[in-house]
Symmetry: C2
Subunit: 155 residues, 2 copies
DNA sequence: GTTGAGTAGTTCAGATTTGAAATACCCGTG
DNA sequence: CACGGGTATTTCAAATCTGAACTACTCAAC
């Protein structure tokens, strides 16, 4: 027979294993993806995600704070990264009219081109490493797990 | 009617969304976990994982290279981190008898204690942030997705 | 045993990240 | 309009990470 306590214990064991698998594998996955991306396009993961977020926003512009939240960067890190992108001409830093404390990052045409070049590489690697190995149900489940989690963590 | 092409397109869209949710949420999650861990125990994520891996190994010792693989650290990074841990007395670096090029990291009693202290904190946060929100089926699925992926990436 | 290709770890310089101030501005209240 | 607490971003030093040499050793072939 299986008691409630035993069932809940078994569940916790599975959950612990799930955490380990998820956590350790994610480290491997992002490491490898990062390496591939940096080697093949000139954009590392951080660059790519910043440009991606910008590209999806109306006017391809975003307040620095919003951008920071979107990619989970602290303020110092964001300033540094944006400086880098500005120096490379992929992004413009422009003072914000409504709030003189603020700035917005604007995707430049170069930035757009760089993103366009990098995107298929990125997609290919993500497919190769992860998505092609997922059933539709698994993908659905990932969405159901991480979507709500994102809201919870963001709020 | 739904053609094969349309179905596969829909599937790819879901998969792309799943990737975004997974990837972005993981960044948020690890950031917050890192912050909580560092604040409450003296161990950050890297320390914790190194000690954890060591603690699970027979004799609580492991060749540096193995350890590096286990936590997905490059060689320079591992040397740096192990130095840190040695300095704090949590790990001992000991020459390897069978191979004079090599060293093994050994968990010290202090290291064991530090891990013992940190573990419940870690578990609590992981539960709060993620595991408590998962159904058993979802946990099972995470295991089924990331377990094989780990093997694939490790090999 | 000498040579030479390969492996384990370290070192070092440069790049990036962190965390804690510092600066400039916003906004509500008196 | 002056005050003061809050927000947006930058700055700076210290910590950490990366990648490319470099050192010391192994192992197999000659």
């Amino acid at each position: 027979m299986t008691t409630t306590a035993e069932r809940s214990l078994a569940s916790n064991v599975t959950k612990a294993e799930a955490w380990r698998a998820y956590f350790e594998t994610t480290a491997l996955l992002t490491t490898q993806l990062e390496k591939l991306m940096k080697a093949e396009s000139g954009l590392d993961f951080g660059d790519f995600n910043l440009l991606l977020v910008l590209s999806e926003t109306p006017g391809q512009r975003l307040r620095l704070g919003e951008l920071a939240k979107a990619v989970a960067f602290g303020p110092g890190r964001l300033t540094y990264r944006i400086d880098q992108l500005v120096r490379r001409g992929l992004v413009e830093r422009r003072p914000c009219p409504e709030d003189r404390r603020g700035f917005e990052a604007v995707l430049t045409p170069e930035g757009h081109r760089a993103l366009r070049r990098a995107r298929p590489l990125h997609a290919r690697h993500v497919n190769d490493l992860l998505l092609d190995h997922l059933t539709d149900e698994q993908a659905q489940m990932l969405l159901e797990v991480f979507g709500p989690l994102r809201s919870r963590l963001t709020s």
